[in-house]
């Protein structure tokens, strides 16, 4: 299976290049290419379960670039490509609103290729390169509508994203100077042999700032509430669902656990950032009336949960954090697709102008209910189990106050989503919305798949409540420490 690993980058890249070809005669070709590529990727990602190993690009071993596949990478691949498939399905009808379909799919596939590259790479500089592919594609996708707000948000996102990339590149340069290597394992070995070097601390600080910016953890979150709502709905779903994780949290965890070693101060920083994001994000979300903007603030808050769980550093905490990361990908992308469907049908996503859509858009309303209950942590749905794991982990680690904060934030989230449900779907119908119809079938399919996943992923806890299906394997990759998972 390992020889298939480079195809995770090559296939979406090929799709992106082909979709970018100027073509007027075959308007459906980009749709087909996008969906085919994502289907192939999803299937292959699923078939990677149970496999791990290294794959040297160009057959140079440690002298060149090494791709590494382990539990965490497979988990991320499944999340990225699965959500990506739902988003492309949704796009087929949704993108009718926009021109330049070919460029849309091209950028979308480039973003996916970039994220897959980031997840699979075992090389620091290669990480930077693929991060830039994903980041640049997402800047352009945020601006895709070319309206005032969208351009403004994209510019803000691009500036902060570039600053983050710059900080990361300085850190890579410092690490190279210290260790003479770019391979993560080699760097980790070198750093472990040569502790107490203040320059290492500088590199760690820069990397933390850079990836916290990409992950939108709280002091660095300014761009997210603008950028995520401005993009077309499937792109918002990708941005909130997987991009902030693949480019932010995932790399943060990978570096903290597998390169620098999970020392107590590092974990404390991660935990603190997580807790602050969790609380501040939900506080900011409560007052929002724009559906997508509200969801975006909740992304900050939920990413905080993930960082908190992983920052505990205990087996239960890591499992909870990773589980929540996967769950958040599913329900947050579903919520954004719901918002897109509402906007597509009703022409607005302002909660004050919506109401009573339950009757006219049953699929959207019901899937949105599922997603809302998941994010708020209502029992049968996946969000409940992962939040439970995180709270249990907090108590187990003796951090009772953090557990209280996690529960309180969960209640506030519930309140916030009750508001969404009430104003958008339940309340009496507004006269302006009488002509609204349910969205086309492919958009409904995408939402139904994600809603089913909200329930199915919660079954993962049946496999073992301490370490739900696949999550234990992924957590092993982190817990494996410096030499993490793969030899």
């Amino acid at each position: 299976m390992m020889h298939l690993v480079p195809l995770f980058m090559a296939v979406p890249l090929a799709g992106a290049f082909l979709a970018a070809l100027p073509n007027r005669r075959l308007p459906w070709l980009p749709d087909l290419l996008g969906n085919l590529a994502m289907t192939w990727l999803t299937v292959t990602a699923l078939s990677m379960v149970g496999h791990s190993g290294l794959c040297a690009v160009g057959d140079w071993g440690y002298l060149g670039i090494v791709l590494r596949l382990d539990g965490l990478a497979v988990l991320m691949l499944i999340a990225i490509n699965g959500i990506g498939l739902c988003a492309t399905l949704f796009s087929v009808s949704y993108m009718d609103r926009y021109t330049a379909r070919g460029r849309y799919y091209s950028l979308f596939l480039l973003m996916v290729a970039g994220m897959n590259g980031v997840v699979l790479t075992g090389d620091l500089f290669n990480l930077y390169v693929f991060m830039e592919i994903a980041a640049i594609a997402s800047y352009a996708l945020v601006a895709f509508g070319c309206q005032h707000e969208e351009l403004e948000a994209a510019f803000k996102y691009a500036v902060l994203g570039s600053v983050a990339s710059a900080l990361i590149l300085i850190a890579v340069a410092i690490l190279y100077g210290l260790t003479g290597n770019l391979n993560m394992t080699a760097v980790a070995v070198r750093l472990a042999a040569d502790t107490d070097q203040p320059a290492t601390l500088l590199a760690v600080g820069l990397l933390l700032c850079g990836f916290a910016l990409k992950a939108a953890l709280v002091p660095f979150h300014a761009w997210l509430p603008d950028a995520h709502p401005s993009a077309p709905a499937p792109v918002s779903a990708m941005l909130s669902g997987v991009v902030i994780k693949a480019l932010g949290i995932y790399v943060l965890c990978r570096l903290v656990f597998n390169v620098f070693g999970a020392t107590a101060p590092l974990l404390l920083v991660l935990r603190t950032l997580g807790t602050v994001s969790m609380i501040v994000g939900v506080m900011l979300a409560i007052g929002q009336w724009d559906m997508k903007r509200l969801f975006a603030y909740h992304s900050i808050s939920q990413i905080g949960y993930v960082a908190l769980g992983i920052g505990l550093g205990t087996p239960l905490g890591i499992a909870g954090g990773l589980f929540h990361m996967v769950n958040h990908s599913v329900f947050k992308s579903l919520l954004f697709l719901n918002a897109g469907a509402v906007e597509y049908a009703a022409g607005t996503r302002d909660l004050k102008r919506l109401g009573g859509l339950r009757g006219q858009m049953p699929v959207t309303a019901n899937t949105s209910l599922v997603a809302s209950m998941s994010i708020a942590g209502i029992p049968p749905f996946n969000g409940f189990w992962s939040k439970l794991l995180i709270v249990m982990a907090c108590i187990e680690a003796g951090q009772n106050w953090l557990a209280v904060a996690a529960i309180a934030v969960s209640l506030l989230t519930l309140a916030s989503f009750l508001k969404v449900q009430r104003y958008a779907f339940f309340e009496a119908a507004k006269s302006a919305l009488t002509g609204v119809k349910e969205v086309p079938v492919l958009m409904r399919t995408a939402m139904l798949i994600l809603a089913a996943l909200c329930i199915l992923t919660s079954l993962a806890v049946l496999a073992g409540w301490r370490e739900p299906l696949l999550i234990g394997w992924a957590a092993d990759a982190l817990r494996g420490g410096v030499f993490g998972g793969v030899q």
């Binding site: 890249l13 290049f17 970018a20 690009v57 160009g58 140079w60 440690y62 002298l63 060149g64 670039i65 009808s93 009718d96 609103r97 926009y98 021109t99 330049a100 460029r103 849309y104 091209s106 950028l107 480039l110 500089f125 290669n126 390169v129 693929f130 830039e132 592919i133 640049i136 594609a137 352009a140 601006a143 895709f144 509508g145 070319c146 309206q147 351009l151 994209a154 410092i174 190279y176 100077g177 210290l178 260790t179 003479g180 770019l182 070097q197 203040p198 320059a199 601390l201 500088l202 597509y344 049908a345 009703a346 022409g347 302006a432 002509g435 609204v436 119809k437 349910e438 969205v439 086309p440």
Partner: protein
């Protein structure tokens, strides 16, 4: 080394002018000057490949930037924020800089590259075996297109991606009018 210091100093002065000047065109010209100085510095540091690339990229940057700003209102209206905010920013950045420089104290001093310190570093292999293994004498090219060709593929993709993005951002009409759309699109949909 003194020469390097002087060149760097000039670059910093250029950077300050580029950032602070009120006229956008002078700012762009200053950027060009910095890039040109950087190209010379690369030449001194034994990196002719970089010097050439930096030089041509710089020219292209200037052309693109000037093309974007010419004939537009280029005077910088609100140059700065209010004084207090500015002062706080400057102090903060100064602290960060001092901190960074002090932390760099343990960093291997300039002029002792990885090659001198680590016999195991991949760079040794590249220099020793580069020609025998790849058949090219420019080791930078050997790294770029053989040892780390995957990075280069990524790099070409980044460029393509940015150009696709620019094409997408600069297309004439981004949204279709509602009446052109397909069914399920009636009402006030799409009109923002």
């Amino acid at each position: 080394m003194a020469l390097l210091g002087i060149l760097l100093f000039l670059m910093i002065i250029g950077a300050v002018i580029a950032v602070e000047t009120r006229n956008l065109l002078s700012s762009i010209v200053c950027l060009g000057a910095i890039g040109f100085l950087l190209s010379i510095v690369f030449l001194f540091l034994g990196a002719p490949d970089l010097a050439i690339t930096q030089l041509v990229v710089e020219i292209l940057c200037l052309v693109i930037l000037i093309r974007a700003t010419i004939h537009r209102r280029v005077e910088t209206v609100a140059g700065n924020r209010e004084f207090v905010g500015l002062a706080v920013t400057v102090v903060m950045l100064a602290i960060v800089l001092m901190l960074a420089i002090s932390m760099m104290a343990g960093f291997p001093s300039l002029g002792t590259s990885v090659l001198d310190r680590m016999a195991q570093a991949p760079s040794h292999f590249y220099l020793l075996q580069g020609k025998a293994q790849t058949g090219v004498t420019n080791i930078v090219t050997a790294i770029l297109l053989d040892f780390r060709a995957y990075d280069t593929l990524g790099e070409a993709t980044v460029l393509f991606c940015a150009v696709m993005g620019a094409l997408a951002v600069l297309r004439r009409s981004a949204r279709r009018r509602p009446e052109e759309g397909d069914a399920g699109d009636e009402g006030e949909g799409g009109a923002e």
